[in-house]
């Protein structure tokens, strides 16, 4: 391995890890919902991209940071919508039904995105595009640093929300022992709805970040982000937020390394093999979720 090769490898890793922030955010959303409801919301990544699409409405009106904020709010709204349509009224002992209804929702959201933009890729603004950090021959993209920073802030805020507020307390209580939580007077439906809204907020941010990192939005992006998000959730440990964060960064980094090493046609095979390695040796993921049944 020459010096250039090492440089390339390091650069690939750095780019990948920074991009992995978006995977981490999506993974957190999946894991949050799974941790609280023990059900999976397959429409989550599509809703996140959908929120970014909704933020296109205000692109001409407000400066870029507010566009991202709008996307986060739109994500929260979509989260509430998905909760009411796909989860609220389906009995708890029909997990397959919620799986299918979220699949239906995923199809609707994807189709709406195509329909309203006639499938054409939409320009999405990024911050700090002309800035970059140069460490020797390594180059760290300014806009990815922004994505990373924003992701980190979102995670810190989430942590504060979960650990320091009543809502966060209720969310964690319902996740660990739903029956006991109800006995203590916490409204399950209200808590679940708020979880979806919080996850949606996060998702909207993630969608905006994906758009900013690529530079264009397209409905094509929804499916691969869903798959990567799920992989990240499983590797991180179902229900574990720190797990999702670390797994997201890892998957982002390794994905780029695999691509550098074996090319783009085999890259995803290796990402999946990474998943299988985890499933075989650490089936509960990087961090087993705190307490609780199942």
């Amino acid at each position: 391995m020459t010096a250039t090769d090492w440089l390339d490898l390091t650069q690939s890793w750095i780019d990948g890890v920074m991009f992995g922030t978006t995977y981490a955010l999506i993974g957190i959303g999946f894991t949050l919902i799974f941790g609280v409801m023990h059900k999976i919301n397959l429409a989550y990544a599509a809703a996140s991209i959908g929120a970014a699409y909704l933020s296109l409405l205000v692109i001409e009106l407000v400066p870029t940071p507010l566009v991202y904020l709008f996307s986060a709010f739109a994500g929260g709204l979509l989260g509430a919508l998905i909760y009411f349509v796909c989860f609220r009224f389906i009995p708890i002992k029909s997990p397959l039904a919620t799986l299918m209804s979220t699949v239906g929702m995923l199809l609707v959201i994807e189709e709406l995105m195509s329909h309203l933009t006639q499938g054409m890729p939409q320009n999405y603004p990024a911050m700090l595009t002309d800035i970059g950090l140069e460490i020797g021959d390594l180059y760290i993209r300014g806009d990815l640093m922004f994505v990373f920073a924003l992701g980190a802030i979102a995670m810190v805020l989430l942590n504060l929300l979960l650990k320091r507020t009543r809502l966060g307390l209720a969310t964690r209580a319902v996740a660990q022992q739903p029956v006991a939580a109800q006995l203590c007077g916490m409204g399950i439906d209200k808590t679940n709805a708020s979880t979806f809204i919080i996850a949606g907020f996060l998702g909207g941010t993630a969608g905006a970040m994906v758009g900013a990192a690529i530079g264009v939005l397209s409905p094509l992006v929804a499916m691969p982000i869903t798959v990567k998000g799920l992989v990240v959730t499983v590797i991180g440990g179902l229900g574990s937020i720190p797990g999702a964060i670390i797994a997201g960064l890892l998957v982002g980094g390794f994905e780029n390394i695999f691509q550098y090493w074996r090319g783009v046609t085999e890259r995803d095979i290796y990402v999946m093999l990474l998943l299988f390695v985890f499933l075989v040796f650490r089936p509960n993921g990087l961090f087993a979720p705190p307490g609780g049944r199942d």
Partner: protein
């Protein structure tokens, strides 16, 4: 009339796909791998009839068998994971299969030039049916004979001890184990049978379409596969048929007059069906208290 026979062919293929998912779902495993087995059957049967001039039925059976063998091999590690992790793991493996076919290039020369799978360009020229003068009606009848045979076999399995064991494992693994049921045999056998049926369906599909490529076998196909038994109701094989006819016949072809609203309605209707009938359209009839089961 030709159009209706063609549509019946499509419904038949999707019914078989649904049957394959039904087997696995009986044991409580949600497998996103049926699309992968479908692909294995498609490529093998297609290659046998096109490159080595095999007759159709042996080619289909070999395709099914190969898919079944892979299914059994995959069934063993699948034992280690449950629930959402199994969904993600099978999704990941299905992607690996798809990527495998994306990279598969194996061509032989023929009077018409080189034929066989050509990597990302796909595999065309699978013209067994038209070249041998099969009419649309004849192919339709052929497919539905296969469907009927599989239906009868699965119906017999369902009523036999094997079916009871599968359903027991699906209802409550711990209880099943405690009465001495071997979980491994039950789950792996379900995977295997499901794999064979999916492989058969895939082989038929390849000959129906005359050209297959990796993008035919994506996650959406796997989602359709599990959608049929979930929408139709796991209790009944007729439900699978109904669901396949509903989705392929009504939602996709019947709603054509709606123009581009068709795609939007598709996802929305799935959501609605799940809200109205979370256990599937044809529900399991709850036994009356005290009634004896034959």
């Amino acid at each position: 009339m030709d159009f209706y026979f063609g549509l019946a062919q499509v419904i038949g293929i999707h019914t078989l796909l649904g049957f394959s998912a039904w087997c696995v779902l009986q044991t409580g495993q949600v497998s996103m791998l049926q699309g992968g087995f479908f692909a294995i059957g498609a490529y093998s049967a297609g290659m046998l009839t096109t490159m080595w001039q095999w007759p159709i039925l042996p080619a289909l059976l070999v395709g099914g068998l190969l898919a079944g063998i892979v299914a059994v091999i995959v069934g063993f590690p699948a034992l280690r994971v449950k629930g959402l992790m199994l969904v993600v793991a099978t999704m990941a493996f299905a992607e690996v299969v798809r990527l495998g076919f994306f990279n598969l290039t194996w061509q032989v020369s023929s009077p018409d030039g080189m034929i066989g799978p050509d990597g990302s360009l796909g595999f065309g020229g699978i013209r067994y049916f038209p070249s041998n003068g099969w009419s649309t009606l004849e192919v339709c009848v052929f497919i539905w004979i296969l469907v009927a045979v599989v239906f009868l076999v699965l119906g017999w399995l369902d009523r036999s001890r094997a079916g009871i064991i599968w359903r027991a494992v699906g209802e409550d693994e711990l209880a099943a184990q405690s009465v001495g049921i071997n979980l491994t045999t039950a789950k792996v056998s379900a995977f295997g049978v499901g794999g064979v049926i999916a492989g058969l369906a895939g082989g038929v599909f390849a000959h129906y379409a005359t050209h297959i490529e990796h993008s035919n076998f994506n996650i959406l196909l796997a989602t359709f596969a599990i959608a049929y038994p979930i929408i139709g109701g796991l209790a009944s094989l007729w439900g699978v048929l109904l669901a396949a006819a509903f989705v392929q016949g009504f939602l996709i072809e019947g709603l054509r007059f709606l123009g581009d609203w068709r795609s939007l309605l598709f996802g929305a209707l799935i959501v609605v069906v799940m809200l109205v009938r979370p256990d599937g359209v044809l529900r399991r009839r709850e036994p009356k208290a005290g009634a004896r089961h034959a």
